[in-house]
């Protein structure tokens, strides 16, 4: 091809390096920088972030030193130990199993399922929404009917039926089953934004510049709705902790003998536990409340940091 503009540029290697350095200095603050400033401006959120990170790290590290079988072994001598007495920090349940140790392993199980569920269902939802919104027309029609179909299925019932049918399942299969039913909200949200974003001129420009559709979707449109994606993922993480917990509470979550936040709360099914042995269920309930509140505070900060007009941080 004829290089009509192929003149030799008079810009040297050194100039390029200098320019790069200058650009780095003058650049607008990065996204993480803005977010951190926003956290600093909102004390409750900063505390929430600290609690969440510390708790997750503690639970993951502590659970490495615990043996599930040992923890779940019945020890009749410790039957309903009171908290802060006789060695066990948070007391023990009807089987003499330490509530504190169950709480650590249970939190790890519940949180990792929530993380796995969030990653899988959000990725799928984002993919579905972006594709459906970008291509529009017939593809959109078909994909939205699949969405409608998934929406009208009674979710909880179906999950319970599948869990009962499958012969042996563990945390991974449970995560996959749940993921199949929790992507729809994200997909609809992402689709609506993609519909608007696809109409913008930069998408048209990319088309005329010969960029392929998939590249436009994931390299052009997705970065532009990333704030929405981050906010939605954070908030659905809080929701997903509740999903596993609720299912385990009903007895259809993790298999028997695997502690989880849900099974601990299920102790409250027994009226005796509620009135007399409050330490069997209260810590797990409090933990869920604190976790979900923290995540929702963090989500609000992230949402604000993605929208300049809502920011509270004054400094740049």
């Amino acid at each position: 091809m004829d290089k009509k503009t192929g003149r030799v540029s008079d810009i040297s290697e050194d100039d390029l390096k200098r320019l790069e350095k200058e650009a780095a200095e003058e650049a607008t603050p990065s996204r993480s920088r803005i977010m951190w400033n926003e956290f600093k401006a909102d004390k409750p959120a900063l505390i929430s972030l600290f609690i969440l990170v510390a708790f997750v790290l503690f639970v993951i590290i502590a659970s490495m030193f615990l043996n599930v079988h040992k923890v779940m072994a019945t020890d009749i001598m410790n039957f309903y130990n009171k908290p802060f007495q006789s060695g066990s920090f948070l007391g023990s349940d009807s089987g003499g199993r330490s509530i504190g140790q169950q709480l650590i392993i249970g939190s790890r199980n519940s949180i990792s399922i929530a993380i796995g569920l969030t990653v899988i269902s959000s990725s799928w939802g984002i993919f579905w929404g972006l594709t459906s919104g970008y291509f529009g027309g017939k593809a959109d029609l078909v994909m939205q009917r699949v969405y409608d179909f998934m929406m009208i299925i009674p979710m909880l019932m179906t999950i319970i039926v599948i869990v009962t049918i499958i012969p042996h399942y563990n945390a991974i299969t449970l995560t996959l089953i749940l993921s199949a039913f929790y992507w729809m909200g994200t997909s609809r949200l992402i689709r609506s934004r993609t519909l608007a974003e696809t109409q913008k001129d930069y998408v048209r420009a990319s088309k005329t510049l010969g960029t392929s559709n998939w590249k436009i979707i994931f390299r052009e449109i997705m970065p532009n709705i990333s704030s929405l994606i981050i906010v939605d993922t954070t908030l659905s993480f809080a929701e997903n902790i509740g999903v596993e917990t609720g299912l385990s509470y009903l007895g259809f979550g993790l298999p028997l003998g695997t502690p989880s936040l849900g099974t601990l709360i299920a102790n409250a099914n027994d009226p005796e536990n509620i009135t007399q042995y409050w330490w069997t269920w209260l810590p797990a309930a409090l933990e869920i409340i604190i976790l979900c509140l923290s995540i929702s505070y963090i989500g609000q900060v992230i949402r604000r940091s993605s929208n300049a007009s809502q920011r509270r941080a004054t400094e740049k």
């Binding site: 091809m1 004829d2 290089k3 009509k4 503009t5 003149r7 540029s9 810009i11 100039d15 390029l16 320019l19 790069e20 200058e22 650009a23 780095a24 003058e26 650049a27 607008t28 913008k200 001129d201 930069y202 048209r204 420009a205 990319s206 088309k207 005329t208 510049l209 010969g210 960029t211 052009e220 970065p223 532009n224 990333s226």
Partner: protein, 320 residues
């Protein structure tokens, strides 16, 4: 042979309605438009908003689905995919958009924005690519430190010049400029237009210049096509259109150019009122029963006008 020949181009949008969501009617955005663009020439496409001029431009570059008609590039129909590939049509035809803010991805740096066509069409090494982007920035008069900035850090005129640089990156033979300066203020308009002219001289690029601003069109274009309600009403050289307008719609547009001479204010006002009255009273002479323009008739070597044959003194052949 013309660079691009548009033949009887139609772009219709269906209106759906009724019980089964049937197609009940069509919006005829572009309804039988024919013109040709020569190499290195600027053709202005003028008309009121909604007259279909932007749709015509988008149809040529392939952003709009064509209902019927053909677009010949170097004699081959580029509405077919195979021809497009073969002629490297996507590379040869580029576009400058009206809104410079929304046509540049806010999340990308200028380097990545201008390099986008290079990455798609030309496979350059990293350093070659960077140098080429710097050359392009130089061509549109921007400093090299623009390379690492984001679109929002520039003024409107600078952004539009970045759009121009991106369009020129692949050495196109035709650039479709869809109201490139109508979002800019007057002092900046001239600056962008002069860069566009300079680039045209240097690289022998043709422009399809879509605009509603007749002053700008006069400055930029060799040939002008006036569009109204999806059809061309008059085509001719700059002098044909400005000095010898035949169609009432062209006359109206010309009368709408603001006049700065205060002394002739009364005269101008009268002239405008007269033309407006003629337009109101003699619709049937200039438009057919459906309110659409007639087919174009040739009245001189370069001048075509959409008038019924009987009303013309000079008889010419029907074009389109």
């Amino acid at each position: 042979m013309s660079l691009i020949e548009v033949k009887n181009l139609k772009v219709h949008y269906p209106i759906r309605g009724g019980f089964f969501n049937r197609v009940v009617d069509n919006v005829k955005a572009v309804d039988g438009v024919s013109f040709s663009i020569e190499e290195g020439e600027t053709i202005g496409l003028v008309g009121e908003s909604g007259s279909g001029k932007s749709t015509t431009g988008k149809a040529i570059i392939g952003l709009e689905e064509i209902t019927s008609g053909s677009i010949l590039y170097k004699g081959k129909d580029v509405t077919k995919r195979t021809h497009r590939k073969q002629l490297k049509y996507d590379e040869a035809v580029q576009m400058i958009f009206q809104d410079s803010m929304s046509s540049l991805n806010p999340r990308k740096r200028i380097e990545d924005i201008i390099a986008e066509p290079l990455r798609n069409f030309e496979h350059l090494s990293k350093d070659e690519e960077k140098l080429r982007v710097l050359q392009l920035l130089d061509i549109v008069g921007l400093d090299p430190d623009a390379l690492y900035k984001y679109p929002h850090q520039f003024s409107g005129g600078q952004r539009q010049r970045i759009g121009v640089a991106r369009a020129v990156a692949t050495d196109p033979s035709l650039i479709i400029a869809d109201e490139p300066v109508s979002a800019l203020d007057l002092s900046v308009q001239a600056q962008v237009l002069n860069f566009m002219k300079k680039i045209q001289r240097e690289f022998n690029i043709s422009y399809l210049f879509i605009s509603h601003d007749l002053g700008v069109v006069r400055h930029m274009c060799d040939k002008i096509a006036i569009m109204h309600r999806g059809r061309l009403v008059e085509v001719g050289t700059r002098d044909d259109i400005y000095d010898n307008p035949q169609h009432i719609y062209t006359k109206r547009l010309l009368a709408a150019i603001p006049e700065t001479n205060v002394n002739n204010r009364e005269q101008n006002r009268e002239r405008r009122l007269k033309i407006e009255q003629e337009y109101q009273n003699e619709q049937s002479q200039y438009y057919d029963a459906d309110g659409l323009a007639f087919p174009l008739v040739q009245i001189s070597d370069t001048h075509f006008v959409a008038l019924p044959k009987e009303s013309l003194n000079k008889q010419g052949e029907v074009n389109g």
